[in-house]
């Protein structure tokens, strides 16, 4: 089991929802509005007048074999336009209840 933490521009909302749906990922947690800035090129997403855009974040815990498929889809979304921005981080899930 791996946890995938995905942070993305709100404009990608619809696509990510579709990807989860397509891959049959049922469980996830979603933060509607989060602020942040990419480490290298990413623009700040602060929801302020200067940086009006906002990010959303989602975390989903999926079986190991699905991780690559999901990451591949996210990479494809990112490639449409890199300016918009989507990042995924894979976390180890130690235990679950």
């Amino acid at each position: 089991m791996k946890a995938i933490f995905i942070i993305f521009n709100q404009a990608h909302t619809e696509r990510l929802e579709y990807v989860f749906d397509r891959l049959g990922i049922r469980g996830y947690t979603w933060w509607q509005e989060v602020q942040g800035r990419g480490s290298e090129t990413g623009e700040p997403r602060l929801g302020t007048h200067t940086w009006p855009e906002m990010n959303s974040a989602a975390i989903t815990v999926i079986p190991d074999e699905q991780v690559e498929i999901l990451l591949e889809d996210i990479r494809k979304i990112d490639e449409v336009n890199r300016e918009v921005g989507i990042r995924a981080f894979v976390w180890e899930v130690m235990k679950t209840v």
Partner: protein, 1041 residues
């Protein structure tokens, strides 16, 4: 959930809501009356009191003064003026605009109740009148007849007046100058004396003969009969056979002592239309009724009624206010359509996409339609003000939608799906959109608070623009994202590179323009001092230009295709003589001005003092001519040119003492553009002398025309001065003698002759030959109670006197007014010249002189505008300061406002337009529109600064990126106004100055804004960011230790 998100996720609901709005709007539009101006109730109340037998001076001291004094206690009173005539006192009260007149009426009535006891006995109870613009006649017809002329009164009354009165919305139909049937019994005084009869005896004989008397019931057999004595005349001829007395056992018939004439009333007034005998018919509407609709129905009805009249009767319209209204409204509607088209073209030019253009254009009808709902629910009308307001708004309502759509397309171009882009892109800009709207509202909303006459017009403008702009913002953050999410396609970023015609031509041009602009900004940023100096020089230069070459004016007059001329001949001239002069003028008019199709001439005064006399001065020495011209399109000369030429012609006629040529028919109860010199002072001789001197001096001033003196020349009067001792000796008193004289000269109405339900007076008096000289009057025989015949010459003398015909008051003091009309010079300039000239007049200490009139209103109007401008500036500053959270930024932006005024001055100078109230209003509106451009620019510079760009780079980048939106919003506003500024035709004089000023100011200020605002930003905000960071560093200095 936010409003834009709901709109995007529920497209059907959104569409339905806006459909409902449009349906309601269209329904309202169908039900709004059409009128020239918003209906207003001028705050004037008149108190009219009659006191028979008193001359003007008596009236002044005994009636006018007590009423004036009492009225002082009424609230909100602005000015009291009064005129004391013989027998009549008229006190006019002017209140502050916006006063509740119903309340005031009650106050005035109770004050009158309290004062009534102090008025002289025999004085009638004062009556109180309220004026309303809807009282002005909306239709004037001239009716001419040949053979049917004698019976015209009855014919018109039955066949026209009654049916027309039944039309819904018609207030009243009145006739004026119609021939009246009367039966004269002209008595020969010599024969009366010979038969020892008096006129009064004959009168009572006629009255007692002309009688129907029920005389009880008679029961005969089975029936009950009513008994009647039928003495009434069935023919006027029967009067001749009345026995009025006996001499030596032989009866004296009426025909022996008098001549009976069944004829038309002897005229003190002469009405003619195009030289033919006739009368006038006028129609008033009910308050709140639709002028255009009523005029149409009346005309329709007339068409049906005319065939029922004898063929020699002709009816022609003299004045149809609905023509001008319809013309103006059609004209403005056309203007609006052109503006709509231009705005579409501008949007298409900048966006280059049909779908995007469609989305933006949809904002226009929806926003405009909401204003119809407003008009409907406030009971207002579709008028010149509301339509020009829409013209102003049409270019601005698309701005918000453009900003939203631009951001949405940016997101779509980055690859977002239209739906997501619509939601998140709107989220990013909705606040900014609302702030720019608030700036516009900050300028227009204060208009709704303006008082006074100007307020009546500006309030509607303020409300309509505010409402449409607010609606457009709502549309921009709901309908626009919704439609974008549905209609826009997902473009790749490659779309921009496609080889379409648009991309090859206009886009290339726009890209080059961006680059050019960026270079310009770069250059000025490195030549700041030069740029600022040049700008200030331009501004100061324009002020100088404005001060010396732009003329001020109050209200532009408009060509309404009608003209009125009032002539005043020598005081006391008899009507027949005045008529000769009037006919001479008519002849000149017919020869010189083929454009004039109809001349209606009314000379003399109606003895009964009709309603009509309220609107123009009448008198035996006065003539009023009303003229109708062919429509504007069918003639080369404007009504003003014709009026000027006519003035020159009238100057050459020696018989005319003064004249007034007026080209406006109904503007605000006939307010004309005059400068009035008011001379306050009690002494008639002194003020008359001064008034004459001033009049003669003012006449020599260049640009002064139609110089008239309000106080009429003393009028010749014949006075019978009775010797009371002689009266007493003969057992007579003044009342008895004056009744005798009155019956013989003016006439005694002995009885009425009835025919077919109508009554005609039977008037008894001396034959004219026996009452038209002083000797004749002295020969009048008076019979004293003991039966002796006494000649009037034995009781007193008949003397010729001069008496002042009326006494005017203003602020409870006697006043004489010299009115001057400007020709070829502005009102303000004329007032200045008059002031200059007045310096040479020596004014006695007890006399005060004031220069006022429409000029005063003008100053008041401009003061209102000035105040409005200050309020708007403050509000705009407040909005901007809070938006930018800075005191410096608003100044950066407001630096462009002076250049808007520079643009206004330049365009006024170039087009030769005068600075009228309307043009000044345009200048105020500019504040909002200009500032909006600045905000867009500064906001983006701030953004770039916050995003970490260097000052100059931030300014250049922002400039390059904001050039198109600024040009686009300015372009839509300018082109939206263009049809307004260029429009010719009915009524365009009223609104085109506003279009001209806004265009001039906006073109110039847009160019300047794009140059000066970056420079000012560079100067004023240079330190801002650096300071912020240094301050922050200081607070965390401990980290470095």
């Amino acid at each position: 959930m936010s409003i834009y998100k709901s709109a995007v996720t529920k497209p059907i609901t959104t569409i339905m809501v806006f459909t409902a709005v449009v349906v309601l709007g269209v329904y309202s539009l169908r039900n709004i009356p059409i009128d020239l101006y918003p209906e207003m109730e001028p705050p004037f109340i008149s108190v009219m009191t009659t006191y028979a037998g008193a001359n003007a001076a008596d009236i002044e001291t005994n009636v006018t003064k007590p009423i004036e004094d009492a009225m002082n206690s009424v609230d909100n009173l602005k000015e009291v003026t009064s005129i004391s005539y013989d027998n009549l006192s008229l006190v006019n009260l002017e209140f502050e605009w916006g006063t509740n007149l119903d309340e005031v009426m009650n106050d005035v009535r109770s004050v009158i109740d309290a004062t009534y006891n102090y008025l002289p006995d025999g004085c009638e109870r004062p009556s109180v009148f309220k004026f309303n613009t809807s009282m002005m006649p909306i239709l004037f017809y001239a009716i001419t007849a040949e053979d049917s002329y004698p019976g015209l009164e009855k014919l018109i009354e039955e066949k026209l007046v009654n049916p027309l009165n039944r039309i819904e919305g018609v207030g009243s139909v009145s006739t004026f100058g119609e021939p009246k049937r009367i039966i004269y019994v002209d008595v020969d005084p010599k024969k009366l004396d010979a038969y020892a009869l008096t006129l009064e005896q004959i009168g009572s004989m006629i009255a007692s003969e002309n009688l129907n008397m029920p005389s009880g019931n008679v029961k005969m057999g089975q029936l009950d009969y009513q008994l009647r004595v039928e003495g009434e005349f069935s023919e006027s001829d029967q009067l001749n056979g009345i026995v009025v007395g006996n001499v030596a056992g032989k009866p004296i018939y009426l025909r022996d002592v008098a001549m009976v004439k069944d004829t038309l009333k002897y005229g003190y007034i002469d009405e003619s239309i195009n030289g033919k005998k006739g009368m006038r018919l006028l129609v008033q509407k009910q308050s709140g009724a639709n002028t255009v609709k009523i005029a149409r129905e009346v005309n329709q009805q007339l068409k049906e009624l005319i065939p029922t009249l004898p063929p020699d009767i002709h009816i022609a319209p003299i004045m149809d206010t609905s023509d001008f209204i319809r013309g103006s409204i059609d004209n403005l509607s056309e203007t609006l359509m052109w503006a709509f088209l231009f705005v579409i073209l501008v949007v298409l030019f900048f966006l280059g996409r049909w779908r995007a253009t469609l989305i933006i254009i949809l904002t226009i009808p929806i926003s405009l339609v909401v204003s119809f709902i407003y008009l409907y629910f406030t009971g207002s009308s579709l008028n010149v003000i509301s339509l020009s307001s829409l013209s102003i708004a049409i270019g601005m309502v698309v701005d918000d939608a453009i900003v939203v759509l631009e951001n949405i397309t940016r997101h779509i171009e980055r690859g977002s799906s239209p739906r997501e882009a619509a939601i998140y892109a709107t989220n990013e800009v909705w606040l900014a959109v609302i702030v720019t709207t608030m700036v516009i509202v900050a300028v227009f909303l204060p208009l709704t608070l303006v008082g006074g006459m100007t307020g009546v017009m500006f309030n509607e403008l303020g409300w309509i623009v505010t409402i449409t702009i607010v609606t457009s913002t709502l549309v921009a953050i709901t309908l626009t994202p919704m439609l974008s999410s549905r209609l826009l396609k997902t473009w790749g970023s490659k779309e921009r590179l496609l080889n379409t015609t648009y991309n090859r031509t206009i886009r290339v041009f726009l890209d080059r323009l961006d680059a050019f602009y960026q270079k310009t900004v770069h250059w000025v940023l490195h030549h700041k001092r030069f740029t600022v100096t040049v700008s200030i020089a331009i501004f100061v230069g324009s002020l100088v230009l404005g001060a010396f070459f732009v003329k001020t004016d109050f209200f532009p007059e408009s060509d309404e295709s009608s003209m009125t001329v009032s002539l005043e001949m020598q005081t006391g001239l008899r009507m027949e003589e005045s008529l000769k002069t009037a006919q001479k003028v008519e002849q000149i008019i017919r020869e010189r001005y083929p454009e004039i199709t109809l001349v209606s001439n009314s000379t003399g005064a109606d003895d009964e003092g009709s309603f009509f006399s309220l609107f123009m001065a009448t008198g035996s020495n006065r003539s009023n001519l009303m003229m109708r011209l062919v429509p504007i399109g069918e003639r080369d000369r404007s009504v003003f040119e014709i009026a000027d030429d006519l003035r020159q012609q009238l100057d050459q006629i020696a018989e005319i003492v003064t004249y007034q040529v007026s080209t406006s028919s109904s503007m605000f109860g006939g307010t004309t553009n005059t400068v009035d010199i008011e001379i306050f002072g009690y002494d008639f001789n002194e003020t008359n002398r001064l008034a004459d001197e001033i009049r003669d001096r003012v006449r020599t001033i260049k640009g002064a025309s139609e110089v008239t003196l309000s106080r009429e020349k003393d009028r010749p009067e014949l006075q019978v001065v009775l010797d009371r001792e002689k009266l007493a000796l003969n057992g007579l008193n003044s009342a008895m003698v004056s009744t005798f004289i009155r019956n013989r000269v003016d006439g005694l109405t002995a009885s009425v002759f009835r025919e077919e339900g109508d009554e005609y007076d039977i008037d008894l008096r001396f034959e004219e030959d026996y009452r038209n000289s002083i000797t004749d009057l002295q020969e009048i025989t008076i019979i004293n109670p003991s039966g002796h015949k006494i000649k009037l010459s034995e009781l007193g003398q008949v003397k010729e006197y001069w008496s002042p015909p009326n006494i005017e008051h203003k602020r409870r003091e006697r006043i004489a007014r010299v009115s001057v009309k400007p020709v070829g010079v502005s009102l303000g300039e004329l007032a200045n010249r008059i002031r200059e000239e007045m310096k040479g007049v020596e004014v006695p200490p007890e006399i005060m002189i004031n220069v006022g009139g429409a000029y005063e209103d003008q100053m008041e109007g401009f003061q209102d505008i000035g105040l409005l401008m200050v309020v708007s500036l403050i509000l705009v500053f407040i909005v901007m300061a809070s938006q930018f959270e800075s005191f410096a930024m608003p100044f950066v932006i407001m630096f462009s406002i002076p250049f808007a005024f520079t643009g206004v001055v330049l365009i006024l100078f170039l087009t030769g337009t005068t600075l009228s109230l309307i043009a000044a209003l345009g200048a105020v509106l500019l504040i909002g529109i200009v500032v909006k451009n600045g905000i867009v620019l500064v906001d983006f510079i701030n953004l770039m600064r916050d995003r970490g760009y260097e000052l100059y780079e931030a300014i250049e980048r922002a400039g390059r990126s904001r050039l198109r939106p600024v040009l686009m919003t300015a372009g839509t506003t300018i082109l939206g106004m263009l049809p307004l500024a260029l429009s010719k035709g009915e009524g365009s004089e009223i609104w085109s100055p506003m279009g001209i000023t806004v265009i001039g100011g906006l073109v110039f200020s847009t160019i300047v804004t794009m140059v000066i605002v970056p420079v000012m930003y560079a100067i004023l905000a240079r330190r801002g960011e650096r300071d912020k960071k240094t301050k922050l560093r200081k607070r965390f200095i401990f980290l470095d230790q």
